[in-house]
Symmetry: C7
Subunit: 255 residues, 7 copies
């Protein structure tokens, strides 16, 4: 009873500290991230991989409209998980900032720079009243100074750099898989395989080319590339990750 009353007190106010120093609205926003389908990022020796679960609610929905992988700039891609409408706002911000940087400094924005501009923006929504935090996590991957870089933004506005990570549903299980199988020296193709294996490890019915999204940015071309269905099918086949391909319908999923 006490716990509940206490919690209510924080729920009512805008983002304020609880007696044990937590920000409940930020933690609830993290729950909103977990309600979204999983997104994965893998950094390899020669590029970064973004892979997402594009599960849909109905066969009549266009999978292409499930926007979970976004090109932020030629050399930077972003995968999201959580509240879709919130993600769109941050993706728009990322694109604008990338353009501004290009115009102002005549060179592509750094991956870390872009990440921190986004997290600074997110942080404001956790400290100043009159708005709620963003209910979304982003995986930002790209090439900077010839090196692959992979970052995460969370609803608190903290930037993290990762070798490989997962956000959204089943995040814990996927991370366990990644920790066990990740090898820092792996090549880009192996990174795609790892990402799909990790995704498959929590999928009940295996993977289908249409049901997933995959993008890569390699150090050579420094160019965002979204894999075609054929390319995805080849990886699924080679990894024996295909499933029964039954339509996934989950009315309760926000995405």
């Amino acid at each position: 009873m006490q716990g509940q009353n206490q919690q209510q007190a924080y729920d009512r106010g805008i983002t304020i500290f609880s007696p044990d120093g937590r920000l409940y609205q930020v933690e609830y926003a993290r729950e909103a991230v977990k309600r979204g389908t999983a997104s994965i990022g893998v950094r390899t020796a020669d590029g970064v991989v973004l892979a997402v679960d594009k599960r849909i609610r109905s066969p009549l929905m266009e999978r292409s409209s499930v926007e979970k992988i976004h090109k932020a700039d030629d050399h930077i891609g972003i995968a999201s998980a959580g509240h879709v409408a919130d993600a769109r706002q941050l993706i728009d911000l990322a694109r604008r900032q990338a353009q501004v940087n290009q115009l102002r400094y005549g060179e592509p924005v750094g991956v870390e720079t872009l990440t921190k501009e986004i997290t600074d923006y997110i942080q404001q929504y956790t400290q100043v009243g009159g708005a709620r935090p963003f209910g979304v996590a982003l995986i930002i991957g790209g090439i900077a100074d010839g090196e692959p870089r992979l970052y995460e933004t969370d609803p608190s506005g903290t930037p993290y750099e990762w070798k490989a990570l997962a956000v959204g549903a089943d995040r814990g299980d996927i991370r366990d898989y990644l920790e066990e199988h990740y090898d820092e020296g792996m090549e880009l193709d192996a990174g795609v395989d790892l990402a799909l294996e990790a995704l498959a490890s929590v999928a009940e019915d295996g993977l289908s080319p249409e049901g997933i999204g995959v993008a890569t940015i390699d150090v050579e071309t420094e160019t965002f590339h979204e894999l075609t269905d054929d390319e995805k099918a080849a990886h699924i086949e080679s990894g024996d990750l295909a499933g029964s391909d039954s339509e996934d319908e989950d009315e309760d999923q926000p995405e």
Copy 2:
């Protein structure tokens, strides 16, 4: 008891996250959409179809004033469901944005572009305090680059693309009907038939030309066309969808 108390906490505040990461005000706005009569969209090989239930509260009300199908631009139509006064605001926004795009770029606005401008606007009402979300869902159909496109906006501000969809009352049953009978290669006339059959599948007393609204935009003319009563009657007759045509009076319906 706990559940109720908890819920109250969120009800009182403006749109904030619940402990399980949901935005109650957005979900309640979705309930407002369900309180509106149904609207349907069908994308065919050569155009898109919008069909709506124009049920009225009294025979003295002018059915033409039940605004559920709107022309947003020559090549784009919008069907709405939910809180009528809210829908009017978004339709006005859509028309302004279409004009602005024409003026600025000298060409008609894309269907996806327009949809996303609307959803970005909707999203603001779910994150910044001092206002409630929009209690309306829109089906936005039109022709872009010679292709028929069909989108949905929901109260969270998320854009979805569909082959065929329903919003408003009986949404679930109508979607089941659409999923079972939809064929991506169907022609526009068949699309109208499908939309009316789906509408009739949940109507107790069948359809009448005055009780429904139907509009099409075909790829050839790229022009919004609202069907006349005669055209509607022909479709109803050919589909054997006519009902007893008794006046529908439902005091509790918001529209």
Copy 3:
């Protein structure tokens, strides 16, 4: 108990959605409309009729100060029901908008155009915080393009077009009467008779020329005309609608 608690939650906040998708403040504003005396609108083949119950609290009050019929423009009249002070704000808005339209476009404002400018204004008070909705319904009648038009605005900000309608107290009973006796082809004089009969059908003591207000706008002159006591008496006599003319005193009525 649950219902009561739940309701309180919505009462406290400014206009927000209830779990079943309703806007309580808007619905309570509709109750404010019902607390006002009845107003009626009838559209005939050659004009529109507005008729109102001008019941007063005391014989010492000037009936002329019970403002329920207003001239908005030469060709448009408005009857109101509900919170009088709120109605005055919307009538003022209507008059300003009519003038602005005349100045800007050099022609009289359309009835539908004016109605929608008013409903857009009303809608803002139901979505943005810091104010309550308008507790008033308007019947807007006039001539546009040579045709009689009759609209309703309600506290949600929705515009409706009607052949004949009632707002305010006894709305349901009056509408029943109108639905039974309305004939779309009736002439203006018959429209006045119908409106008065409908009004008399819910009046305990019959009608008196001073106790009612009647205005017409016919398609020929396109001019707002408020009936004199003699004109009203003639209609009352011909319809045998006169009552005992005892003073109506109702302390609790807001008007």
Copy 4:
């Protein structure tokens, strides 16, 4: 218990609608009016009469500082009842508006025009948040186009025109007296007598020249005239309305 809880809900919020469509803050402001001593207005064939109870808390208080009759313009007087500090704001507004009108149009402001400018101002305080309604009622009397006019403003911002009226304490009893004895054709002097008789009808100890305030505006001079103690004494004597003249001390009365 339910009723109490329900009421609390409305008390807490700024002026919002109750489930039965009432505005509690406005109704409570009406109670504030009733807590003030009575003010009376009478319209006669050749002028208007304002009469007020100037009861004081202590013989040491200057009766002249009990401001209940105010000259708004040469041809317009205002009597108030209720929260004195609020009344002062509206009187100031009235005087400014009268001057503005004179400057702008080169002619004295109309009584009805002035009344409605005041009620429009009052209405804003009942709809927009961040302030409470005005706890005062005004009786506005004057000459317009050679005719005596008499208006009331109440805390909701509604204007009423009266032949004779009372606001403040004992309003009901005084109105009963006025309704019984008022005669529309009475001359100004008879109007003063009626007003004083009505005031005396609820005074326990009769009237004294110092204990009341009386002002007239006649159609001939169109000039606000406040009666001297001698003039008031003559009316009191002729009407046999004198009392024991014991000091009225009522600590709880706000005026």
Copy 5:
């Protein structure tokens, strides 16, 4: 229980009306006035007297810093009771307004004019949200047009004119004394005596020159004069009002 709950409702909100038409925050501000030591004003035939209780908490406090009598202009003095910091704001306002008036009109501000400028300012703090009322009452005395004038401002923003009055602690008892002994024709010296006698009537230990403050403004010089300790001692002696002069220490007194 009901009463308490009800009261809480009003306590929480900013100044709003209670169901019986009262403004609790204003009434509580009046309590803040009563918590201050007493101040007295007396109007005589040839001037006004201000007298205050300058009780202090500790012999180490400088009595001169107990600001209860203030010179607002050459011809106007102000005595205060209640929340000291609030009083300072109003005194500053009074001084600024007196200067502004001198500059604008080339003549000293009228006592009534100044009083009403202050009460209008106070009233704003009782109607518009975001601030609390002033917890202070002022006695404003001075000469206008050769006549002594004496006014009171209270936390509601109402101006009163008095022959003699008291504000602050023991207000009721002092007023009883004043009512019994006041004589409108008394000279200024007798006015000082009356004020000190009234003050002594509620003082347990009699008066001392240091423990009180006295100021006069006479009609001849029209100049604010604060009595010296010798002058005060003479009055105390002549009236036999001296006490044991024990230090008054009252930790709980806000002043």
Copy 6:
């Protein structure tokens, strides 16, 4: 139970009056002052003394960073007690105001003038919403017109002038000591001795040069002088006030 509920009501709102006319937030701010270590001011015939307890939480903390004595201008010093971060804001204000005064009038700011500018600033935080009061008391000492002056500001924004005073922890006991031993004619050195004796009277372990701060402003030089450790040691020794000098660690003390 009642008392507690009542209190909660006031706690929740921003600074508003309680039914007995108190401002709880201001009183709670006074508690914040008491949580700070003691500061003392003594006015002597030829100067003022400021003395403070510089207790620290850890031997690793630099005592010089315990800012309790501040130079506001050459001739004015300020000692503070309470919430340190709040004190810094007021000290900054004092310094700016002293500079502004020097620039504007070409002469040093008066001690009383400066005090009242600070208290006016503090008062705003107790009346206007959106902020909390300052949780700090200041002792402002200096020379004005050749005379030593000593003032206090408290969280209500009231200025007091003192001969000698204490603020912060043990305020009551120290004041008792001061009242007993203070002599208005004492010289500056005796004033320092008195201040240290008073401080020692509540210190469990006596005084050490590092554990206290002392500053003087004498009438001759009119210059703020902070005593060196040697100077302080001499006073401690001469007064036999030295203690065991054990490190004082009090985790709960805010300073």
Copy 7:
């Protein structure tokens, strides 16, 4: 029960005083600091040392992205503990202020000056409504006028100067260690050793070069230097502080 209710009252409002003069939101922000891993500062005779625990949640996370030591200017470093996103805002502020100072005065900003600019900024978030306090503590170390200086900022906005200190988790235990072993005359290398020993004293599994961050600013070069893994390894080895180097995974840690 009482305690809990009382506490809730404060939790709900923005930062206001509790009855005992505390600011709960500030104290809860201090709890947020304790939830962060430890940071340590040590001032030696010839420079300052900053050392931090860079514990990570997963071996896949890049330790370099755990930002706990920041270069604010060439001669100033900052270590943080607590809410990471908040820390970033203050670090950005520090860098901007350092640049502004350089531009404006042509010389490096003082360590104390910079600290106080930051604490003044922090204080605003504890007094003015509409935002929550910063949930972070900073250790600011640098060289000013050839002297090493070491400061702390806490969530209340108070600046403290230290010889050696710890913030974040295990703060009390680390301080005990520092108090016991600190020697003001120690050289920079000994300072690094002390900081690491203190850190090791609370680490279950000893230290690893990657798991910690160390930076120094010495008086000679006045330059921020972050130790390489080799340099850190040498210190760990020489101090025998190495642990089993098992990955530290602590899902609940915010950093």
